[in-house]
Subunit: 703 residues, 2 copies
Amino acid sequence: MAGNGLVRFFFILVPIGALLAILFAGYFYKKISRFSEGTEEMKEIAEAIRVGARAYLRRQYRGVAIFFAVMFVILLVLGFAGGGSLGSLFVPLAFVTGGFCSGLAGFIGMTTATMANSRTANAARKSLDDGLRVAFQSGAVMGLIVVGLGLLALSGWYFLLAALGKSLPEISTVLLNFGMGASAMALFARVGGGIYTKAADVGADLVGKVEAGIPEDDPRNPAVIADNVGDNVGDVAGMGADLYESYVGAIVAAAILGFSAFSGDLAVKGFLLPFLLAAFGILASIIGAFFVRVKEGEDQVLLKALRRGVNVAAVIMVIASYFGVRLLLGVEHIRVFVAIIGGLLAGVIIGRLSEYYTSAEYKPTKQVAETAATGPATVIIDGLSVGMLSTVFPVVVVAAVIFISYYYTGGGNFQLGLYGIAISAVGMLSTLGITLATDAYGPVADNAGGIAEMAGLPSEVRSRTDALDSLGNTTAATGKGFAIGSAALTALALIATYTQQVQSIDPSFQFDLSLTNPQVLIGLLIGGMLPFIFCSLTMKAVGRAAQKIVVEVRRQFKEIAGLMEGKAKPDYARSVDICAQAAQVEMIVPTLIAILAPIIVGLLLGVNAVTGLLAGSTVVGFTMAVMMANAGGSWDNAKKYIEEGNLGGKGSEAHKAAVVGDTVGDPFKDTSGPSLNILIKLVSMVSLVFAAFILANSLANLF
Amino acid sequence: MAGNGLVRFFFILVPIGALLAILFAGYFYKKISRFSEGTEEMKEIAEAIRVGARAYLRRQYRGVAIFFAVMFVILLVLGFAGGGSLGSLFVPLAFVTGGFCSGLAGFIGMTTATMANSRTANAARKSLDDGLRVAFQSGAVMGLIVVGLGLLALSGWYFLLAALGKSLPEISTVLLNFGMGASAMALFARVGGGIYTKAADVGADLVGKVEAGIPEDDPRNPAVIADNVGDNVGDVAGMGADLYESYVGAIVAAAILGFSAFSGDLAVKGFLLPFLLAAFGILASIIGAFFVRVKEGEDQVLLKALRRGVNVAAVIMVIASYFGVRLLLGVEHIRVFVAIIGGLLAGVIIGRLSEYYTSAEYKPTKQVAETAATGPATVIIDGLSVGMLSTVFPVVVVAAVIFISYYYTGGGNFQLGLYGIAISAVGMLSTLGITLATDAYGPVADNAGGIAEMAGLPSEVRSRTDALDSLGNTTAATGKGFAIGSAALTALALIATYTQQVQSIDPSFQFDLSLTNPQVLIGLLIGGMLPFIFCSLTMKAVGRAAQKIVVEVRRQFKEIAGLMEGKAKPDYARSVDICAQAAQVEMIVPTLIAILAPIIVGLLLGVNAVTGLLAGSTVVGFTMAVMMANAGGSWDNAKKYIEEGNLGGKGSEAHKAAVVGDTVGDPFKDTSGPSLNILIKLVSMVSLVFAAFILANSLANLF
């Protein structure tokens, strides 16, 4: 299929990169497993978390399996109804494998995290560096597994179908279905995990901290294990599935647009480039990972260590992608390189902006903390205000990337411009192997702190795990920047992909995507409303689930004699079970809405309206995701800032007010906000996959 | 200019209707003034409120005058630079008169309200019916003045320019500038008034209720007069200016689209129809107003009385508009009538939906109240969730109106379809004379309650004013439904008007408004971000201003000896002054952003991006306005529900939590939320007025 030796070499480089990522993930996993789990008590706690987390994932996957089975049948029927051949079997299969791989990435990440948490706590008994190394390596396993599995599955499908003689457009359709499967799984994981983790967290805090007055992570709290399980199923497995779908979605969208942006030999190369960039990114990430180390005692050394790793990877990526573009597309298309750099830079800038708005070192969050003096209402108002204001620059940055990618890289060529936008998202995500490592490291450190507390380790250990944890909050801001920024760019690229898909299915179809077309306006309005419903449902779900935990924890405090005196043990498993059940039930409706909305709008109002819906949900979803992430982060850190002894410190009225802010922020930043990133892409993916069905059956054909 | 006698008759009917409205406003004003102001104490308090309110408006108008003077010069220079003749003088003049009339409507409404508040309290000493009559008539003055002044000014400009031989397109341009002036003034009034009223309210509550533990409206609270002044400058003058611009904007947009939707004689008739509908609406409102009366003792009788008036007006309007359309446009265009009905119905439905989500009689707000049991955080989460969910049906209703107006009324004709959308907004607002009366009556009743409390009137009077006040909250929900719904439809119509304006300025310009055009996408993103910045700034402004009041009230409590014992009087004027100053300063930046954003985006990225910006701000602004209004209303009523003795009643922990929700809701529902309605139209108006300037000077001409 490929024209020359270099292209063939590059094609083979892709699965090699993927395998290397998996290999190194295994290597890091091995390294972690050699560390000791610590005392008997630590082992026991870690085991409880592990069991709870596995039990939840099992339950979640069982529920999701039904959904995937139904969708498999639907896609199969649609394929055959559309005059499909045996080839139509690949479409539903790809969908299912997409979901499977996304779930697998989350599962492996979580298994590693639940193995690493006690080891991190134990290593922190020795030194800060040891703690960091274990936690970071656990994050690296996750990061590398996500990119490795992503690239491996995509290239596996590619080689299989190419070997069967399928054309690139046919392969693209299959890859899209793979992407849709990954997105659907990611949404389930994010929503379910997000509800789980925040229900446990809020429930544990409301009764434990506020009512009973016992500290966080106190072993007497019956929801404490559920809380720690939540960190793993939400922040690790959920995030893994989330970024898996971002990664896959960005690559597939860029590949498809690349194929149509060029003609002849170059078309295949345009298709290949995003895969190649991903492979380069893996190598850069692996090298970068080895630069993360730290000497005890240096100031701010942890953050520097992590940044060093990320920066090394970024520099390698810049150089590699320059040569990649030059060799693959030729020097006349070197402007594509600028789009890649734009994406990489934008990810970094959006992350830094999040840091500015959410870190207590800067003015906005300090002010949120100060408003706590006048009570919870002013904290809420100020936090919302910070979150809303924080949308400005990310929007400007994304707008700038679009502008540069389209006008400079595209140079007036419409198709090439769209490719530029898509490839900038790939550029942003290319070093995901290491950026995700610095992000996924956070929950491990958080859990390690919890284990240290529950196992009664000495205070210097706890202060080391605290240092690791607080750093995790900063890197999480950066990670969120990448997740949000890439989601916006990918979603925009998917809108373009959608219109091309429709056009390729029915070349005679006349799009009218003008903003003066009422179908488009209606689509925009409905699309703009989707994030609102979605956030409403997920936030309410957290509230409902937390309520159940509150009732259960209160019951245990009352009924289990000697619990408060530490003479009896609470029934941890019961809280774990309640959270799991609630999350399982509550994740269904929001996900179904995301899947059904574009289909229903399409059936009623046609593909113009669907395109409007995609644009509306992207604009609102993007701004709201930024708002919620940053408001939530700001409240969280304002509370921590007060807990550090500022403005009255722990136990003061200001602290109580800040706790209210933090509690509101929990579903903002860990449930609803991050789910929006997936929502806006899943809606696009569903639209793409059902485009032929909508075109044939829409009522819009009648008017 | 007009073709036949009927058209001429209808043209003359318009100013006659306007004058009738003003006449009846004067009649109601006279009737109110005959009532007694009550005891000396009541007179004194009413006078203090009156003085404070006037002082604020004077200050506001002085500040705004500078803005209008600058804009006058800019518009004049632009007019002459664009090769204008003496006729160019009309454009800046129209702009200034638009601002003046909007301000005047607010001023008259407020003067009436501050005159009626003590009279309402005094009348309530006699009977509920008397209280209702005074309060409602005060609202009617406001409602009729808004529609009367609106229609009079528009038709005044029309007749003047027509007499000078100007063409309808030239007249349209002048009317647009009038509309922009009204919008700019409205935004100043809404933002300034909204900041004033909530700063005073929040500030008074935070220290008085929460810290000092004295009841609301207690005369010992130094901010109590400022609080009452705030009701007048925010909820009366602000709302008057707001709905004035809605009314004018809807009529002008529909008139312009009407002129291009038809050809020949019919074009003038299409232009005339919205004016005629407005005139019919005035007659319907006046008749309806006489149906508002009540007998003491009947249950739920107040709401019925108000609804009777509104319903009578609506029925008259339906009949009149049927004949109006039939006589003016002919039976072949009778489908335009359907758009009018659609608009009227949509306004009612959106209002009822608001009622459902915000009234404690229904499940959503009851649940918000119940979550108060677990503290402020859950109240906030649940209220936000209710607000977000409440966007669903208003979006569906507006989408349905767009669909019906465009496809049924337009019948496949693009221009006629757009006209249908615009005329549905006029239909929704046609009976504004009476719907605004039922809305503006609320703050008067609220103030009357305050005066009754401060003057120590017996408890049965207070319970009557409470009944009036609580009804006011329900009708306010309906009023907000009309304001939001009409804003969305008008903003959408203005987008279409904008594209036509650009096309008429430069017929060779090729629009590319497709959602795949990056300029459009960037515009959408920036437009979608505008409501976020806007709400952030206005909410923060409320917080800052409230902070100043908190400091001042605390100071007075501390420094004025004998204040708490009721032996000394607080320095009310000082709090009034602080609020006024803060509001004056804080209203500038948000308003300037609204005005500058479309100009800057236009200069950098051209008119395609501006159109995207308009669509983005409309979609986000509309959904966010609904969300904020309903979340705020729900928190407010949840608190009241608890205060009525449910879930622990006043003073319980649940009540404290609900107060936090209410305090967060205050800027939501009375500052940021309602300002969004103006924002989305002002942005369109500015774009329209500066279209020629942007077309000539945009950097987009280079790429």
